[in-house]
Symmetry: C2
Subunit: 415 residues, 2 copies
Amino acid sequence: MKISTLSIGDELICGQLTDTNAGTIASVLLAEGLRIQRHLTVGDNESDIIGALSDLGRVSDAVIVTGGLGPTADDMTSRAAARATGRRLVINDEARNHVRLMSSKLENLIFCPLSDKQSMIPTKSALIPNPGGTACGFHLMHNGCFMFFMPGVPSEMIVMLRNTVMPFIMERVPHKRVIRTASLNLFGPCEAEIDELLLGIASPERGLTLGICVTFPWMRVTLRAEADNNDAATDLLLPAVRSVRDRLKEYCFSSGDISMDDVVSELFRDRCLTISLAESCSGGLIAKRLTDIPGSSAYFCEGTVTYSNVAKTRLLGVPVELLNSFGAVSSECASAMAKGIRLVSGSDIGLAVTGIAGPDGGSEDKPVGTVFISFAAPDGCWTKRFQFNGNRNDIRTLTAWTALDWMRRYLLKRE
Amino acid sequence: MKISTLSIGDELICGQLTDTNAGTIASVLLAEGLRIQRHLTVGDNESDIIGALSDLGRVSDAVIVTGGLGPTADDMTSRAAARATGRRLVINDEARNHVRLMSSKLENLIFCPLSDKQSMIPTKSALIPNPGGTACGFHLMHNGCFMFFMPGVPSEMIVMLRNTVMPFIMERVPHKRVIRTASLNLFGPCEAEIDELLLGIASPERGLTLGICVTFPWMRVTLRAEADNNDAATDLLLPAVRSVRDRLKEYCFSSGDISMDDVVSELFRDRCLTISLAESCSGGLIAKRLTDIPGSSAYFCEGTVTYSNVAKTRLLGVPVELLNSFGAVSSECASAMAKGIRLVSGSDIGLAVTGIAGPDGGSEDKPVGTVFISFAAPDGCWTKRFQFNGNRNDIRTLTAWTALDWMRRYLLKRE
């Protein structure tokens, strides 16, 4: 089954908003062994939408469209869909009732005026219910191609995709080649190094492919096995996954959608250890990431963002003389901060970061990107100096990743 | 001039990575009054790339392609470009010298094996220099359509686009209609409310359009004026911008690419005030955002992430009896935290946040999403209760935005 996606919106085609729906749809389809062939984006322009629907309709068995179903005047997907498929646009009673019901619910929170525009649906279409918002979706068949229309709001779209669109598509997929995928996430080496490490694992002629995807500052290796049935695909995939794991060793921090934050969080819980943070140049980013995880209060005691020297002394007990002799960005200060936060918080582990995120503040000795990370634990205190490259945001991101990866490696060794 | 973009990559079409290049290219073109008509994405598959190049080439005067020029086996854009345009793929000496030079530079940092693959360029093409990476780009003319090929790494692509592709395109744009755009950013009301507030400002027949783009949790209103010359476009645009500003009033926090964080940061500097934070459920997110801005040490004294009650008492002096009587998520605790951090840090302003980000921890009285924000300043202490909706991430994001917006409104009133 050839499937295409179409995202509609001026804000997408003009680069004001990055489209995430196409990626979400692709992931959901991939999990069922289906692949997007083409993804197209056009603006809120009737003739562009009509052209896109005709072109994609010609080369696809199904087109999944998102965006342009809102209440405002610049949303014109329904009208374009009607014109492109030779239908009339009429008030749909079910859609109208839904708009009214949802609007009355939402009124408690924010005032949203009622709009009949969202009740106008092309004739000879079936509704796609939207439990999360006012805009119903719809689907229709035109010249042998199924076309699905959903609003662009990601949280509404995903529910409609899962509840209505996917079951409809899966019923109509003819003979299915089974696709199974697995992905491993890694932090540390560069793409070319990974490519060399993994040489010879892929075997496209047997239906086993391997892709490396760089998502600064980490990477994902995805294995994809295609076979006639589930067992054959699994037999192809699993040994390859094992080989990749063996070769990547400790670079690999997780598989699938498990983030570095999830891994570190799980390890803290499992080892029954607690942590407190003393952050300077990372400005709360590590605390934010550790507390992104629900239930983080089990291991996260407290965080401090000690930007000023006064705060480093008052909150962490870093001696004024040490700051005067070595400076706030120094190995000595980092380890005093780590030991200090461990002591005052009573946590098992104290982690401290001090450095120069830029763009200003660098010197010849300590250029922008110089970062000291210190790790105080029951069995010792370690401090390392790093030199990161990039802009302020890159340096802060690399600092947080490196600190989290260090925690991960430490916790892994403590059974 | 009809311009299309093509992004190539399995990780894009499979939804593992979100494409940002198309948006970047669109923004750069828009600034020059040019608009992308279609944006297409396909995977690293030779026949899909050839099909995409032929289709886009047929309907466009220029196609800007990104991705698939890397050193690894799954990158096959050069070969597909050669086949699609009837050219041979040959070693280009200039490209080879560049790959060698860049590889030797990069070797200091990370080991990247040398690859001749990146020196293979289709015949009858001109190189697009890449000062930031090993992969040169190239451009060629096929059946009256200019085709530009660049690597997918965003930081490399943008330089190549600005230095080579844009000057090449701008020299060949025939009669130019001038497009001027302006955008205003707002936080608070819902899309339909904004739409109603701004009714009648757009006037497409005169070349003035208005778009609303929702980027949770804020929105952007973009005005676009198209006219024969710069003066006419400006005359069309400026009064409309003033009207939008008048009607949005304090909802509007900035224009263009200026973020909420930038605005708050600038206000703190301008008013010569300092701030310290006591965060509970936002877990360092507000500190992270305030310190994202270079030079934030001028106004940001310290941040604390006081997850545990012990930390609230030890670091902020919140009385144990208060925590026992009212609980950590209470108006009383929030204001004690705000006053506490203001006092111990010696900052002008103390901001505190305590709430339930979920998914667990809610009760009938205080469901998930209940958040107290307290603001202690020289002229008083104010505490408000909010009820936010959404998942853990939404609630934390809304908490940070609401706190920052509160600071902004407070600072605006203090001349």
